[in-house]
């Protein structure tokens, strides 16, 4: 029984400090990346999804409350702010692409972003979901840090929005390319931009392997859709009381 008591005696003080939770989060994410690499880079084993399941499972198994975990892990969470600002770098670098196909990019952004926002809210309501779930769905196609802060602002559940944004990205990464090819859309600009707008970072990482052009349009889609969604979502929550 000695090891049990040792673990118990160590657990309480360690669980109260940030270090343990930062190590757990980093370890789970590194594990997810390794698993994905071992399975040939399959989009099904998204490292973020794997890490969420591992850490969530650990919390459920140990009974540690989420608030305790987040008090430690918020040091990692904090970096979402500067990471969002960092999106300015690919955005500024690809600005000449926007200028060259301004009409197409603008129209596609407006149509895709609006359709994904409104269809998300409408589908949730049609399937009997609550207002909180609908509001958490609304910003999910924006890149996760933007989606989360929007969700917070309009009264959704940021954690749910984050999970939906990641799962949406996984869906787009798995079926996106095949679906578009079946519709005879082969242009890399369209593939990249659609992945960025509808599937944010997860799908963009997948489509970036097509070509540099696809990667640039994916980065562009993420940044532009983040901005447009940030403008549209507060509007939806204002109009829909």
């Amino acid at each position: 029984m000695m090891p049990d008591r040792l673990v118990a005696a160590l657990w309480a003080p360690l669980a109260a400090a940030p270090l343990l939770w930062i190590v757990v989060t980093l370890g789970a994410y590194a594990g997810g990346r390794r698993l994905q690499a071992r399975l040939g880079g399959s989009p099904l084993v998204n490292p973020v999804l794997v890490a969420m399941l591992l850490v969530g499972g650990l919390l459920l198994a140990t009974g540690a409350p989420y608030a305790t975990y987040f008090r430690g892990a918020q040091l990692i969470n904090f970096l979402l702010g500067p990471a969002t600002v960092a999106l300015a770098v690919p955005l500024a670098r690809n600005l000449h692409h926007v200028r060259r196909s301004l009409g197409g990019v603008g129209a596609a952004l407006l149509a895709g972003s609006t359709v994904s926002l409104l269809s998300g809210v409408a589908l949730v309501r049609a399937l009997g979901g609550s207002r909180g779930v609908a509001l958490s769905m609304a910003p999910k196609s924006a890149t996760t840090p933007i989606a989360m802060s929007l969700s917070q602002e309009i009264g959704g559940l940021p954690a749910l929005t984050a999970a939906l944004a990641i799962i949406g990205g996984v869906i787009a990464a798995i079926v996106g390319q095949r679906l578009l090819l079946r519709l005879r859309i082969e242009d890399h600009r369209a593939h990249g931009f659609a992945a960025g707008v509808a599937g944010s970072g997860v799908a963009a990482a997948q489509v970036a392997s097509l070509s540099g052009l696809a990667a640039a349009f994916a980065a562009l889609g993420i940044a532009l859709n983040g901005v447009l969604t940030a403008l549209l979502v507060p509007l939806v929550s204002l109009l829909w009381r």
């Binding site: 990692i76 969470n77 979402l80 990471a83 969002t84 770098v89 596609a108 359709v115 999970a163 707008v197």
Partner: protein, 127 residues
């Protein structure tokens, strides 16, 4: 590294300040991103952007964006606190995320394809 981080955090702070002062509906980091993008675009408009400063910023920004996935994990784990909700509303959640993602994807690609992609760009030309 330090300068790059300072630029990113500085623009985030600027964004938060502007958001509070002007009651903007946008999150502070988004305001900061727009400001930084405008500054970077203006600076590279005259000359090619390869200064020492932009190199430092590129490195930190690249590092953060490359490992952005890790940064979502703490918030995503918050789902364990929402398990009753997931059990109760799994159908609207699943239907909503699946339907809206695919509709958004197809709409975006189809519109871009039909408006401006009549002449496909060869990959060699694009690089």
């Amino acid at each position: 590294m330090i300068v790059g981080l300072l630029v990113l955090l500085g623009f985030q702070l600027l964004g938060e300040g502007l958001r509070l002062a002007l009651h903007l509906p946008l999150p502070g980091p988004v305001v900061g991103m727009l400001l930084l993008a405008a500054v970077l675009a203006a600076r590279s408009a005259g000359s090619p952007p390869q200064g020492a400063d932009s190199g430092r910023l590129d490195r930190v920004a690249g590092l953060l964006l490359e490992h952005m996935g890790l940064l979502f994990v703490p918030a995503g784990v918050g789902l364990v606190a929402e398990l009753p909700l997931l059990r109760q509303e799994w159908a609207p959640l699943l239907g909503g995320v699946l339907g809206s993602t695919l509709l958004g994807l197809v709409t975006t690609a189809a519109v871009l394809h039909h408006v401006s992609c009549r002449r496909p760009v060869a990959i060699a030309q694009a690089r």
